[in-house]
């Protein structure tokens, strides 16, 4: 318990360092946060001056930072979008569920595929299956996500057609067919390609990691003991080895979860999936800095929190780990 509190306290300074760096980076940009408006001939200089005052941009930087951090902590306020004049929290809030769906389902698919592959590879190392799985995973680790996504579109949208209707087999982007906003099945069909793209890459990493972890464990003494006791091979593998082999995976998952959101950036961009990543990309193109900053802050927060969870989970799951 004291350990948990200490880890929590340790996380705070690193979050602060990050926020200060980002804040100053953005505010010090020449052209300023209102750069996009200043270039718009329809906006008068007086209007810009008014906005500058309204958004508090005329005050000194440290005061701006303090008011920003206070607003963020107390009211969850990440500022106003310079382009849409809407609260950033609201804009991110309405995109987060879409990203969670995409990432969550891809993640389930990843585990369902990667765990069997990793375990079988570890039980029969250097078999044909293991070689095939290893080669495929090397390929998965080397393929750029966005290119994989483009290939998916080329195959399942451009080349393959539904034999009944002659329309593309799978939709290439978006979340709904127009006019079918509440049809879950329709959304599910739209999810197939983005989920396949994301999962393929993760499966490559996870199956290899699980294989290595299981192989380590299968050489442990207690596995030999279990075998010597005359337990059946299945019992040894699933009751003794698998349970221990999965521990590093669980902490890896907790550490990796935030990076899944980053991975979703490319997928969302290519498949026009209206999630946080797509929002970020659109905001980057229009230099909507509060939105960019908001997404980065939320993701940095997630990383710090999940690293914490990973550490705690590890101690909880593996009694051999002792904290002093």
């Amino acid at each position: 318990m004291t350990y948990i509190i200490r880890r929590l306290l340790q996380a705070i300074p690193s979050l602060l360092i990050i926020s200060v760096i980002l804040f100053f980076l953005i505010r010090l940009t020449p052209g300023g946060p209102l750069g996009a408006l200043e270039r718009n001939p329809q906006v008068t200089p007086e209007a810009i001056e008014n906005m500058r005052e309204q958004l508090g941009l005329d005050k000194p930087l440290p005061i701006q930072y303090l008011s920003w951090i206070k607003g963020m902590l107390l009211r969850g306020d990440l500022g106003m979008s310079y382009i849409h004049y809407r609260p950033v929290t609201e804009m991110i809030g309405e995109r987060i569920p879409n990203t969670f769906w995409l990432v969550g389902i891809s993640f389930l698919v990843t585990l369902l595929v990667a765990i069997p592959i990793g375990v079988i590879s570890a039980i029969k190392p250097y078999s044909f299956f293991d070689y095939a799985a290893t080669s495929l995973s090397f390929m998965g680790q080397s393929v750029p996500v966005f290119w994989l996504g483009l290939l998916m579109i080329l195959i399942f949208y451009v080349t393959l057609k539904n034999p009944m209707t002659g329309l593309p087999l799978l939709p290439a982007g978006g979340m709904h067919t127009t006019g079918q906003e509440n049809n879950l099945l329709d959304t599910a069909v739209h999810l197939i390609l983005p989920v396949a793209t994301l999962s393929l890459v993760w499966i490559a990493w996870y199956s290899r990691f699980l294989r290595a972890s299981m192989l380590d464990i299968l050489h442990e003494d207690y596995i030999r003991t279990a075998r010597a006791k005359g337990l059946r091979e299945n019992t040894v593998i699933y009751r003794h080895a698998f349970r221990n082999g999965i521990i590093p995976i669980i902490t890896l998952i907790a550490m990796d979860l935030p990076s899944f959101f980053s991975g979703a950036l490319f997928t969302e961009t290519i498949f026009s999936w209206p999630g946080m990543g797509r929002l970020f990309w659109d905001a980057a193109k229009t230099r909507d800095y509060p939105v960019l900053l908001g997404v980065v802050i939320i993701n940095a927060g997630l990383i710090v929190i999940f690293n914490l969870v990973a550490d705690i989970l590890y101690g909880f799951l593996d009694p051999r780990v002792k904290y002093d």
Binding site: P13, S14, L15, I17, I18, I21, L22, L25, I26, T29, P30, G31, G35, P125, Y126, F138, M139, Q141, S142, V143, P144, V145, F146, W147, L150, L151, I153, L154, Y157, V158, A212, L215, D216, H219, P258, S259, F261, S262, L265, F266, T269, F280, W281, A284, K285, R287, L292, L293, V295, V296, N299, A300, L302, I303, V304, N307
Partner: protein, 309 residues
């Protein structure tokens, strides 16, 4: 890691029975035995030769031909032509120069910075170690791809005179966010090595810190740093292509694999070759580097036993 006792015995007896072999030779022999790594090396060398001697193999990457736009691959244009009638093969070769350059230099930079920070942290310890590692932690908590785009978009918007060149900018941006893992690796190596007898011996004969770090400890880390460098390079190439693909990396008209792919996206539905070939080049290059890294890992690891036959 995966060695069985039998392998270990043959390894050690082999070590005793065989004539003494220099470490360099042993590493080379082990690397050459890793067939996929060798294939990766050959593939990478071919890409490098193609890219370096691009003018010998191809048309000009900028010549436009209004009559020959969006033509599929043919004997004349091996990878077809793009929307302005430019030869895609030529553009990929010239774009490869940029992509490989970015990969090489940003990984080199991140390795150098990472090694220096890790070495200082691991060797001196104490408050310096604490400070450096807190900074490393903070950098590790950045959501990399988002911050990369943010940084790149900020710097591109600034039009700094010394950063006119988007290639240099991308190299710096990628290196800024990828020195942390090498730093941690080198720190952990230094932590174990600084207690070893030969280091203590060096101290005893009065060697200065700088000499101990660079002449005694660092050479013993080179193998692992090398392996980490290959991983960094693969990562840098993928990251550059991703950034350029999203429009925040190398800026057109300078071609890179990523931004060729970005423009290809618009025409991909009807001219798939535009999207297939640049991606294929990234994929081939990165997988080659990954296999080379795998081979190096096996070759440098003094305890590894070749399981691949």
């Amino acid at each position: 890691m995966t060695d069985t006792p039998k392998d270990t015995i043959t390894l050690f007896s082999g070590g005793f029975l065989k004539k003494r072999e220099t470490p360099q030779k042993r590493i080379l022999r082990r690397f050459l035995r890793h067939r996929l790594a060798l294939a990766g090396l050959i593939c990478l060398v071919m890409v490098i030769i193609g890219v370096l001697f691009a003018p010998l193999f191809s048309y000009s990457p900028t010549d436009q031909n209004a009559l020959d736009t969006l033509k599929p691959p043919s004997m004349e244009h091996w990878m077809g032509t793009d929307e302005m009638g430019r030869d895609v093969f030529a553009r990929i070769l010239y774009g490869g120069r940029i992509s490989l350059l970015v990969g090489l230099f940003s990984s080199l930079l991140s390795i150098i910075v990472g090694t220096l920070i890790g070495a200082a942290s691991g060797y001196f310890g104490g408050w310096l170690d604490n400070l450096l590692m807190r900074i490393t932690d903070a950098f590790l908590a950045f959501p990399t791809i988002f911050v990369l785009i943010l940084l790149a978009s900020l710097l591109l918007a600034q039009n700094l005179r010394w950063l006119q060149n988007s290639v240099l900018l991308v190299i710096l941006v990628i290196a800024t966010l990828s020195w942390m893992l090498p730093a941690r690796l080198v720190r952990s190596l230094f932590l174990t090595l600084r207690e070893r007898d030969f280091v203590i011996a060096a101290h005893t004969v009065g060697a200065k810190d700088r000499r101990v770090i660079f002449r005694h400890i660092l050479p013993n880390c080179l193998g692992q740093i090398f392996v980490s460098a290959t991983l960094q390079m693969a990562y840098a190439i993928i990251t550059e292509s991703g950034l350029s693909f999203l429009g925040f990396g190398v800026q057109p008209p300078t071609p890179s694999w990523g931004n060729i792919l970005a423009t290809a996206q618009t025409y991909a539905l009807f001219s798939p070759w535009l999207a297939i070939f640049p991606g294929l080049m990234i994929f081939l290059t990165v997988i080659s580097i990954n296999y080379i890294g795998d081979g190096l890992r096996d070759a440098f690891d003094p305890f590894s036993v070749q399981a691949r036959k």
